[in-house]
Amino acid sequence: MSLVPAALATAAGLAAVGAPAGAALPGVARVRASGVCTAGVGVAGCAAGVAALGGQRWAADFPDLMPLAGAYLAVDALAGLFMAVAGAVIAAVAVYGIGYATGHGEHGVSSRAGQALLPLFALTLVLVPAAASVTTFLVLWELMAFTSLLLVWAEHRGRAPVRAAGVWYAVMTHLGLVLLLAGLLLLAARAGGETFAALRAGAAGVSPTVRGWVFVLTAAAFTSKAGAVPLHAWLPRAHPEAPSAVSALMSAAMVNLGVYGVVRVGFDLLGGGPAWWWLTILALGGLSAVYGILQAAMASDLKRLLAYSTCENMGLVLVGVGAAGVFAAYGDEPLAAAALAAGLLHVVNHAAFKALLFCAAGSVLRATGERNLDLLGGLRARMPLTAGLFAVAALGAVALPPGNGFISEWLLLQSLIHGLQVPGVAPAVVLPLAVALVSLSAGLAAAVFVKALGVAFFARPRGPQAAGAKESPPLMLAGMGLLAVLCATLALVPGLLADGLGRAVSAAGLPGDGALRGGVLQVRLDNISSLLAPLWVVAALTVALAVATGLPRLYGHRRRRRDARLWDCGGGAPSPRMAYTAMSFAEPLQRVFDDVLAPEQDVDVTPVRESAYLVERVRFQRRVPDRIEHRLYEPVLGALARAGQAARRLAGGSVHLYLGYGFVVLVVLLLVLAVGW
């Protein structure tokens, strides 16, 4: 018996045990039972995914499971990749979550509902990639959205913004579902079957216009799930307001499925398409990358910053996916496979470091009750392990060696740079811009994570909560430690993933075998002469660091370090209020990108009563609103509200009027049917 069905059955069984246990057991026992079951779902899902990446395939149908349609499951390497990523993240975050929810009170994530939903959400994350028919996919997709929505709402008693964030998420994820439903049903109707196998076979015969519509509808839904602009507005609201363990799962596992959807539908089911599809995806990705990281640079809320960084990283992945599509459309399939492999590797890397970042942010939140960077600071001395783990993840996020993000961004840049050999004017114009956007986002990401790490953890505390912070309990540290090991492994020996990624790319219909050449020591793309040797870089840096530290000590006469007061240009021992805050750190960037960000600021000067020239109080306020939201969503919401107001006049309260409406509608409907058909 192959491993995949056994592992998936285990995962389903554990979720079936964990959910009632979470709902029924009291107190700490429920947190532990549900957490252990969730971790088990993660391990089983990861095992199934790794087996699929190793080349196992499995398909099954359960005609009696769902009425009318039946449930179809199939696991190939592409599904396996996303299952393995989700599973690994779930397993580590569940361990963290036990520590996080213990002692969290009766409400919020440790409530009965929260603990019952956690294993179910984990299971849907693992199963969505395994769906192999339109109905199965949509049911699992909606279950995933629904369970995560309830989990986002878990802490609604504590903070008012949680409700609004949940409503935004609910509306946008269901609009996405409507688009998805329309797109996939259109395809199923024209292709003559609703299983993915039938769609694959029938999609070639569908007219190009219909294929275009299917792609546009599904891509809008999937990129919204991935947090790409302009349909990203739910992400920076819902991710910060969810309990931190849930934020980690959403940001590291759920958003990936948006990318999975684009790849599955675009490459696999529709079998690729014209260049404009993929140029659109590439443009969306590039814009999301830069816009997301710019908003992250402006954010003072630690979790909001991380959420916008998710927009950025998913944008980078979409750049890879879009470039792959463009190359395939212009006929260079090996390069397309390379670009897709780079994008998928970034999915894996992003999941590892972003889960760790959200968990560390959760630890900070738990220890201080504070997410505002301006009020944190000095946590390095009080929470040294959390600070170290955050630093490991931040190194991955800034895309510099020896972090894991650097590997995938390097591969992405290599595939974009070599894309110029593809004939055609569109690549010649688009690729340099894409390289510029990717590198600008990488540069800004460095500033963002210097800000996050430096302002939150370094210097001295700027608030009483930060001053009284305590290190997290061992289980939380253990969960984060697992994620840090994952980050380090991905950074040092990414070559081990090469074969699996190749199979995943092949499953998407591109010649993926050997697209990514790997091994323990190095990683490179097929047909491209540059290579990267991460272990060598780390070894060289370590040796150089040892020499640079050791030589001056050998030469110097006095070797013992002496503590001394901060100099500060003779000002001496500044108070913590004089240290730079997140807002002041971001000020130069905000000035540079003034035209894009359109910040709103407000200075309110109150003079003393006796004289207009003596100032009693100055109030200064600055907000950097999400400009896309401002320009795109508010007019739509305003129009909806106005339409609602106008429609109120139709509802006069008289029963006769309502009966009349029913009659008129019936008559019109009958007329339409009589004339039209």
Partner: protein, 318 residues
């Protein structure tokens, strides 16, 4: 062969480490003479470093490991980058992994470490410097990578030895519009990365206008020596990189002792000339206002973009 190769790598690191302070002294001397002063002599930075290294190491109260590790990390990243960049020879045992993007990223890692150290000090000046340095670094990144893109088109690779040896064998690449535009763009980026006028003034004494110097105000003694050495090595490395990319003549493309000696002599000459030109230019230029710097960088970004597009259309015609 391998013996010469290893010596070449060690020589590149040594020449950058030992030559960094000398280049700084040389540039200060050129500047002093042009301004009508006598100058302290080319060896002054070495004497300063000896003095600083003999002082007692100081840890400011309330700072953490980031402040202590950053100086050594800056020197280490530049040293590894110096081992990779073909300053003396394109035929070394590690030439296959000498990727231009990796070199750029290593240098950025040093910048990032110093910025974190600036924030770690918890002073207003430290944060100010870190904030400005990261802003400039973020804006320089697209220019550098687009220049890399333009340079990699004729060689078909971002591997530095491949680019350099390709130019040695086909010098016509340099005279092409793409090559010239990329040179100009990269030169501006190098000025910004090394904190020279017009982006930053390395000899400023006014804290409010500082970028790089504001981050390192809390360093003293041996730590300060390493910070200064790191900055000097970085300038040497980046000028050497410019020289290797745009005037690669004399770099050893085969493993022979004679070629290596010639390469060393020519490298010294090229970097000395570039340093003198930069120092002379600094006498006549003023530092830009901080918020005018993005305009300069946007200009260099456009040059780099033009370089890529021009090289694409020219290569497709031929």
């Amino acid at each position: 062969m391998s013996g010469v190769g290893y010596v070449a790598v060690a020589g590149q690191v040594a020449v950058v480490a030992a030559g960094g302070p000398l280049l700084a002294g040389w540039m200060r001397q050129v500047r002093a003479r042009m301004e009508g002063r006598v100058g302290a002599g080319v060896l002054q930075p070495w004497r300063d470093m000896r003095k600083l290294l003999r002082k007692e190491p100081i840890t400011p109260v309330g700072t953490g490991p980031a402040l202590r590790i950053a100086p050594a990390l800056v020197v280490a990243t530049v040293a590894v980058a110096a081992a990779l960049v073909p300053l003396l020879s394109t035929d070394t045992p590690i030439s296959d992994r000498a990727d231009l993007i990796l070199v750029v990223a290593l240098i950025a890692l040093g910048t990032l470490a110093l910025a974190l150290a600036g924030l770690d000090s918890g002073t207003a000046f430290g944060g100010m410097g870190a904030s400005r340095e990261m802003t400039v670094a973020a804006l320089v990144e697209p220019t550098i990578l687009l220049s890399v893109f333009a340079l990699s088109i004729p060689a078909g690779s971002t591997n530095l030895p491949a680019i350099v040896s390709g130019t040695v064998h086909d010098p016509a690449r340099l005279a092409s519009p793409a090559g010239l535009l990329a040179t100009a763009a990269l030169a501006v980026a190098v000025l910004a990365e090394t904190g020279r006028i017009p982006v930053d003034n390395p000899s400023t004494h006014l804290e409010l206008t500082m970028i790089h110097e504001a981050m390192v105000l809390e360093y003293a003694g041996p730590d300060l020596a390493l910070v200064e050495l790191g900055a000097q090595m970085r300038l040497t490395l980046l000028l050497g990189l410019l020289a290797s990319l745009f005037a690669p003549w004399g770099i050893a493309t085969s493993a022979s002792w004679a070629a290596l000696a010639v390469a060393l002599a020519l490298f010294t000459l090229k970097v000395a000339v570039l340093g003198a030109v930069l120092a002379a230019a600094e006498v006549f230029w003023a530092k830009l206002r901080l918020f005018r710097v993005p305009e300069l960088l946007a200009g260099s970004f456009l040059l780099a973009l033009l370089a890529v597009i021009v090289s694409y259309f020219l290569s497709s015609e031929s």
